[in-house]
């Protein structure tokens, strides 16, 4: 569970280093898998918003949160948690802004991961 650090970083390099150590040759594959997974998750979130389905939104946000924390995307994980809490309270009217914020943050994370990936092709 990502906890709030002094400066909410986009990507925690300690986590990335640990991942690199574990995955070795498969590190690039892991990053790719995360990125395509996350695309799918965002799609589900948008769909849930459109359908007003709080339950589906909550589950997708929860799942996304877990993935992000594993990958060291601290800020993004925190945003997902906020979305999860809103969805649990069924306050879907307020999600639009938050969802936008999530997409923008993900875009940043994507760039950072892609550059990581370049180094370890």
């Amino acid at each position: 569970m990502a906890d709030d650090q002094g400066s909410d970083m986009h990507v925690d390099n300690h986590v990335l280093n640990a991942l690199r150590e574990v995955m070795e040759d498969e590190f690039a594959l892991l990053l790719d898998t995360f990125l395509s997974d996350s695309d799918e998750r965002l799609r589900l979130l948008r769909q849930a918003q459109a359908q007003g389905d709080a339950q589906a939104m909550r589950m997708a946000a929860h799942s996304f949160k877990g993935s992000c924390s594993n990958m060291g995307a601290v800020l993004l994980a925190g945003l997902c948690k906020q979305l999860e809490d809103l969805a649990r309270r069924e306050q879907l009217d307020d999600v639009a802004a938050l969802l936008g914020h999530i997409e923008r943050e993900f875009a940043i994370v994507r760039i950072l991961f892609k550059s990581e990936r370049q180094r370890y092709r």
Binding site: M1, S63, N70, G72
Partner: protein, 574 residues
């Protein structure tokens, strides 16, 4: 100790997380199975039977909780640890994991050091459970073996015990079928002279060690009773045998009875059991048969005391023997049945015949549980005719038998003190094939003549003493004392077998060194009802073909005969 290579099932719907976890786990040396939802996880589990499961709580199709429940069910008795992967923090959600069968959690982000430690810990538990199940199965198998051994031992014992007469009409008893393994032993056998020996024993200990002493004891009991030996001879033999074969600290508390229907007396020897009771039907008087000796197997041969107490009986009088299992029976509150309750049943009893059933009723009222440890026997003095006594069984060895011979024996003071010549003489006479069918009558007559010669002739006792219960006790006490210090005297047996044209004849003469009696006077006496003596000679006259007295009154002559073609008329009165 490093964990062995396990097969670990990972169920996680997020592809990246699944990949990460799989890599972490396989880098720790384990074989990984990966599933992306609960249903896949279940299927993989059934197919591969992994030792451990890492389960994401939230999954599509079938979530982690349901999958965990089903996997636990599928695993049965074996422990398959399930570690839930979750970022759930709410207490309630974590409780749900445990209730679904989860054994532990791993939080996201995954910490591989913590994961490794948890896998090790869970595997220890798994192996512990496996050991427990193996041990349980081993214990169950051993237990089954023990039970089988006991069954076999019981079957062997039942063959040894088959010659008993516990089913006689004057005996009632209560005993669990597995009493043998509580150390309880109940034996009864007819004597060749028609009386009955009854034995109740309680070996120390339980199980096979308690049962194993019963077999040699039963063999001695049945073998010697059938040959006509008395309690005074059987008890020391039993004692010596047990002393020799049983380990120190193992012995047999016992009570033995010799019930004589003809003479209407009972001899009692008690060693270590709780009080038995002689219950007089007419008066309701109760005489406690108190243990006066140590149990069998304790004393050595030299110090063993086979002295018995003798009581006169009338028809309907009964003896009740019980093992301590009865008094120690406990109810639900843990109270023991104890002597007070038993005595209360006695006090309340109005009809002697119902006493046994009343005791049983009182016992089952007291404790509803099955009475596995209770042995109790009631023996009643009845009319001999009422007993359906099976014919004596003497194995016919050889058709050639001695039919034309004579023999004389003189047993003098020192021998008379310790030796009972009757079994020996009977065995000799039974070598004559034709006499075997009259064995009962033969023995009864021999016993009467010998007792008459010894007690009245040699010891000089007056049977008039035996007119009441107190006199009875005095008579037998006198008998023991005089016999113990006997210095002079003899009893002679003259046996003559002669063939006759149509069969043969046994002439038997018994003489003693005593003062003699007036045969005419004795012959003239009629039997007064209620007199406790005099019955003996009446019996002899009835059983033998002919009976006469020598002129000086110191000897009696009896004759038995048989005809060749008859299988032997049923002369033995039993």
């Amino acid at each position: 100790m490093s964990t062995a290579r396990l097969t670990i099932l990972i169920a996680e719907d997020s592809a990246a997380d699944r990949m990460l976890l799989s890599t972490i786990v396989s880098r720790q040396g384990h074989r990984v199975l990966a599933a992306s939802n609960g249903l896949e996880a279940l299927a993989l589990f059934q197919q591969e039977r992994p030792q451990l499961v890492l389960m994401d709580a939230m999954m599509p199709v079938m979530d982690g909780f349901e999958a965990a429940r089903r996997i636990k069910e599928c695993a049965g008795e074996a422990l398959v640890p399930i570690i839930f992967l979750t970022s759930l923090t709410e207490g309630e959600a974590l409780v749900r994991c445990l209730e679904a069968g989860g054994d532990d959690f791993l939080a996201k982000p995954y910490n591989r050091i913590i994961l490794e430690a948890k896998i090790k810990a869970m595997d220890r538990l798994r192996r512990l459970q496996s050991t427990v199940l193996q041990q349980r199965d081993l214990i169950a198998k051993h237990n089954e073996h023990l039970l089988t051994e006991q069954r076999v031992a019981k079957a062997v014992f039942d063959k040894v015990a088959h010659s008993g007469c516990l089913s006689a009409a004057n005996i009632r008893y209560m005993q669990s079928p597995y009493a043998l393994f509580n150390g309880d032993l109940l034996l009864a056998a007819f004597k060749p002279s028609g009386g009955m020996h009854v034995f109740l024993g309680d070996f120390t200990g339980h199980g096979l060690p308690a049962a194993i002493g019963a077999m040699p004891l039963a063999e001695v009991f049945y073998g010697m009773t059938a040959k006509g030996y008395s309690m005074a001879e059987i008890l020391p033999e039993m004692n010596s045998k047990l002393k020799r074969i049983l380990p120190v600290g193992v012995f047999c508390c016992a009570t033995m009875l010799n019930l004589s229907f003809q003479r209407r007396v009972v001899e009692v020897w008690c060693g270590g059991l709780p009080d038995g009771y002689l219950y007089r039907a007419a008066s309701g008087e109760r005489v406690a048969l108190v243990s006066r000796h140590l149990p069998l197997g304790v004393r050595d041969a030299a110090s063993f005391d086979s002295h018995c107490e003798v009581y006169p009986l009338v028809l309907g009088d009964r003896l009740l023997l019980l093992s301590d299992g009865l008094l120690e029976t406990c109810n639900e509150q843990g109270q023991a049945f104890a002597e007070e309750r038993l005595l209360a049943v006695f006090a309340a009893n109005r009809q002697a015949d119902r006493l046994f059933a009343e005791i049983q009723q009182s016992l089952s009222d007291f404790s509803a549980e099955a009475q596995d440890d209770v042995s109790m026997v009631e023996v009643v003095l009845v009319d001999e005719a009422a007993l359906n006594r099976p014919p004596l069984d003497y194995s016919a060895h050889g058709l050639i038998s001695p039919n034309d011979w004579s023999a004389s024996f003189e047993f003098r003071a020192q021998t008379l003190r310790h030796f009972n010549p009757l079994p020996f003489l009977l065995q000799l006479l039974l070598e004559v094939q034709a006499l075997r069918s009259q064995a009962g009558a033969l023995y009864s007559v021999l016993a009467e003549l010998y007792s008459n010669a010894l007690e009245h002739g040699v010891l000089g006792l007056d049977s008039a003493l035996k007119r009441d219960a107190a006199g009875f006790a005095r008579y037998y006490s006198e008998r023991s004392q005089r016999l113990a210090v006997l210095e002079q005297g003899y009893v002679r047996f003259h046996l003559q077998l002669q063939p006759e044209p149509a069969g043969g004849r046994l002439l038997l003469r018994v003489e003693d060194s005593g003062g003699g009696f007036d045969p005419q006077a004795l012959l003239g006496q009629t039997l007064a009802p209620g007199r406790l003596s005099g019955r003996g000679l009446e019996l002899v006259r009835r059983l033998a073909e002919r009976c006469s007295y020598s002129a000086d009154g110191r000897g009696i002559c009896v004759e038995f005969c048989w005809s060749s073609q008859a299988a032997g008329d049923d002369r033995f009165g039993g």
